[in-house]
Symmetry: C2
Subunit: 262 residues, 2 copies
Amino acid sequence: MHILLTNDDGIYAPGIASLASALAPVAEITVIAPDRERSATGHAITMHKPLRVDEVELAVEGGGIKGLAVNGTPSDCVKIAVKALLPQPPDLIISGINRGPNLGTDILYSGTVSAAIEGILFDIPSLAVSLASFNPCSFTTAAQVTRIIVEQIKDRTLPARTLLNINIPPLDFQELRGIRVTKLGFREYENIFEERLDPWGKVYYWMSGDVVDRDEDLEDFDTAAVRKGYVSVTPVHFDLTNYALLEEVKDWKLSLETNKGE
Amino acid sequence: MHILLTNDDGIYAPGIASLASALAPVAEITVIAPDRERSATGHAITMHKPLRVDEVELAVEGGGIKGLAVNGTPSDCVKIAVKALLPQPPDLIISGINRGPNLGTDILYSGTVSAAIEGILFDIPSLAVSLASFNPCSFTTAAQVTRIIVEQIKDRTLPARTLLNINIPPLDFQELRGIRVTKLGFREYENIFEERLDPWGKVYYWMSGDVVDRDEDLEDFDTAAVRKGYVSVTPVHFDLTNYALLEEVKDWKLSLETNKGE
């Protein structure tokens, strides 16, 4: 099995190094990732400047794992890997391990998840993997969990055009309560903007905020599952059509007529 | 009615100026948009540098329409507008008029659509509007169409958490064949990467490509509707959960057990 690894924390991040180390014994690994941190880039792609690719060595204990650093976004990395750099498409794409959760509505902003969406746009089975903590902590357990999941799904046909979005609580392996298959929760932020004055008296704003999860504490939402110590696995697709409303909007009978006579 | 306008081509772009001019007679308009072009930024947000806001004058014929320029992405603009700059949320958010189509799977990359998604995340009715041409052409017809649609929907309750993604063919008003309510098509790109050598013999890549629409020429896809001269209106939501596959993935009985004894 040939696995392409990418991420949005940059090719030198410890999360991708841990993942590469954990998977190297069971698969052929290629690492193609951004040359620096690209968090919160969403699904940005790079069309207005050229992309460059450089061979680098990953921050793996003991060394020895090489990768290709791209001066672009996570989505760029998957596109250029599949369409220009690799002789044939990989069997699986894994984006991660991200430092910090990618849960609920927040996946809209996630470079990690967007890279996996690129994978399924190319019909390549893809996973997005995140460690649900911003604190300095080990990726060892998260890498071990990812390997366990990869071994369980490798003989399955992943559903077409659907990725698995995996979030792992920041716990020791023995403390994990199990795996929950979940739907995406709704994350709201309070106090998003902090207004400050610069040394010259001019206003500027920092975006941050405190997260509030709208999940009624139900474990079938990813946000609640992770909070309660479960590994969350959500099937995610990319079709944003609201099919349930197609007929309703058709019934509005929108028309260009009203103004045609003017 | 108070309408917030934003875009991803930048506050000085002609598309937002045309829209502001067309809507000014029927609504109170506030323009809060990026200080420069931010195309293909997807749903990126700015968390690692501060945001600044400056009052500027739009590129409107005759002048007189002011706006606020933000050194961030389209999504940043909606967030900071709603949560920091406006005394109360607007009645409607319109993102556009974008120069170039936002159709099918391409909306994943769209700053224009992402700004409208921010709107519905805040439960504010939102539209994304795009003129389906990259050629220099007038936004007058697209602005007129947008106004007609706004007047038809202003007394309706837009469905919760759903935006309308509107694409307008680059035709004269009289040539438009009508409005179609559509689902998102699937856009593929061929020859995505062009490999070149720089003056020092080092490889670099341009991302571009030729679009191929997988829509079987059916007008219920947005891509085909616009190609055939219809204004396309697609209800778009933000929940990427693949509900149809939840039970199937649950049936896999993923588990952490295999490795627990190791």
